[in-house]
């Protein structure tokens, strides 16, 4: 590497006028960012703080006259309830299976798009259709496809004609997970495709010359170099999968023990109007998501892109 000074960086900016200019630039920068930052704080940071306050109170809108400070009672109630822990299990189960399957599918689709012999446009179209469709609509589509009264799945070979998919917990999960995979694999595939595009083709040529076969090339070149993109995609999709709500709401409304943590939160807050208990659930969900993000960033070394399009 040369020792040449970075161009421009150290260029003297001169006396007072330049300092004024810098100051003006700073002020303009902060001013331009202010509206977006204020909006984001107002709708996320403030409500989360408010949720903490609400969660410490005995606040049930159906009985507005009762109530008062409850300390950590709401948290004790939630953390000692079977419903909460079951919903945590359900959510983790759905998230792990969904993300694992779509990682494999997304990788196959991304490799297919990257190395497309022909029909690259057709794959891109196929991938973007699920992305464009409203989650609720997709959930209805799969619900109606599996429901014995309106579906076609039960008339397929190897499947019992009267299989009641939404009649027991794990077959409900199967359909919920299928619908989630269908809807979100495109996102995974596109992120991985963008990662593949950054890998130097020359490496593959060199490996071929050295006699590496396709499998070796994938595990020795593609996978290690794809790691940053892979971790970002996994982080995004895992956190997204933990929010699963729409599909479950449409398909089972949480019946038969299929509640996710978001469904439990919704039921407490909006259906039962128990703001105290519901807010405790909200805060716990927030902490859970935060913990997962921390594990990804600290544990796996996922580096979130701080400067999009740049390298830092």
């Amino acid at each position: 590497m040369s020792t040449a000074a970075p161009p421009q960086a150290a260029a003297p900016r001169g006396g007072a006028p330049a300092t004024d200019k810098t100051r003006a630039e700073r002020r303009l920068g902060l001013l331009l960012c202010a509206p977006a930052v204020i909006a984001m704080l107002l709708v996320t940071a403030y409500p989360i703080g408010y949720a903490v306050v609400l969660s410490l109170q005995d606040l049930d809108l159906r009985f507005p006259d009762e109530g008062g400070f409850a300390g950590l009672d709401n948290y004790v109630t939630v953390l000692t309830s079977g419903v909460w822990w079951q919903s945590v299990f359900n959510t983790a189960f759905i998230a792990v299976v969904t993300v694992a399957v779509e990682l494999v599918l997304g990788m196959l689709i991304a490799l297919a798009m990257h190395r497309a012999l022909f029909g690259r446009g057709l794959i891109r179209t196929s991938v973007l259709i699920p992305y464009g469709i409203v989650t609720v609509v997709a959930a209805f589509a799969w619900f109606y496809a599996f429901d014995p009264d309106t579906g076609f799945v039960n008339s397929l070979p190897l499947i019992a004609d009267d299989k009641a998919w939404f009649g027991d917990r794990f077959s409900s999960f199967a359909v919920i997970i299928l619908a989630e995979i269908w809807k979100t694999t495109p996102f995974m595939a596109l992120l991985l495709l963008a990662g593949l595009a950054t890998i130097d083709e020359g490496l593959y040529e060199a490996a071929k010359v050295d006699g590496a076969n396709a499998v070796q090339r994938f595990f020795r070149i593609t996978l290690p170099l794809l790691k940053p993109a892979l971790l970002v995609a996994l982080l995004f999709r895992t956190l997204d999968a933990f929010r699963v709500f729409d599909t479950i709401f449409v398909m089972t409304r949480g019946a038969l023990d299929t509640e996710s943590i978001s469904i439990v939160g919704y039921n407490q807050l909006i259906a039962r109007l128990n703001l105290g208990l519901g807010s405790a659930v909200s805060v716990l969900i927030f902490l859970l998501v935060l913990a997962i993000a921390v594990v990804f960033v600290k544990g796996f070394g996922a580096t979130v892109p701080r400067t999009p399009g740049g390298s830092r």
Binding site: A36, M40, L54, G119, A145, G265
Partner: protein, 279 residues
Amino acid sequence: MERGSREYALWSVGLVAIFAFAMLPVLWLVSLSLKTPATVGDGRLVPEELTFDNYESLFTGGFDSPFLRPLINSVLIALIATLIAVTLASFTAYAIARLDFPGKFAILAGALAIAMFPPISVVGPLFDMWRTLGLYDTYPGLIIPYLTFALPLAIYVLVAFFREIPWELEQAAQVDGATPFQAFTKVILPLAAPGVFTAAILVFIFAWNDFVFAISLTSSDASRTVPAALAFFTGESQFTAPTGSIAAAAVLVTIPIVLFVLVFQRRIVAGLTSGAVKG
């Protein structure tokens, strides 16, 4: 030669499989929406007899119909949220891409944190705040959370695009005699437009897709959007399942978005992947 043609055959099978899997649920909805109540359970992909009754029923009653009002709500709320979010994000992205000021990276990191934020965590407090402020079951009540949760995505896409713009052209134009205003509108705006448009598409799809806020912060057709309305659809009478009308409504909200996504597919792919690659 032998190996080549086998590869092509395998590849074709894969292509068809991917396409079929993507299209299957959509085709099933279209099929259900065209079936009569008597044949809705026959399990056939191609309906035996076609009917448009399901589509008609969505609009009978005009504004009191189960579908028209939510559709108008969805379009207006998503459009307004998109307009505001993209405007605010453009300011922020311009500042981050071009100006030097402290707190730049804190803003980007904060935006990223919000992109991962679980909406259900703020639904309760917003529900309570909105009732106090009179925003519950109104347009702004949904527009505000939508634009906020879409801001991170918009900022990231726009920063990535703005970084690529050769800003020297602005000065070059001024050297050539253009006024600062001309330099901005004639040179910079055309270069920035594709990025702004891409961000707008992604924000619109996000707002159009939302369900959690839509069912939690609305209570009537005054502001209920299509996804929320769909979940509360009932049959024409207690004894008819709403399958046909839900399918018809689902098809109507899906077709424009799918066409839109397909027309702008390159832009969407570029937008979704910008900033997510470099570690």
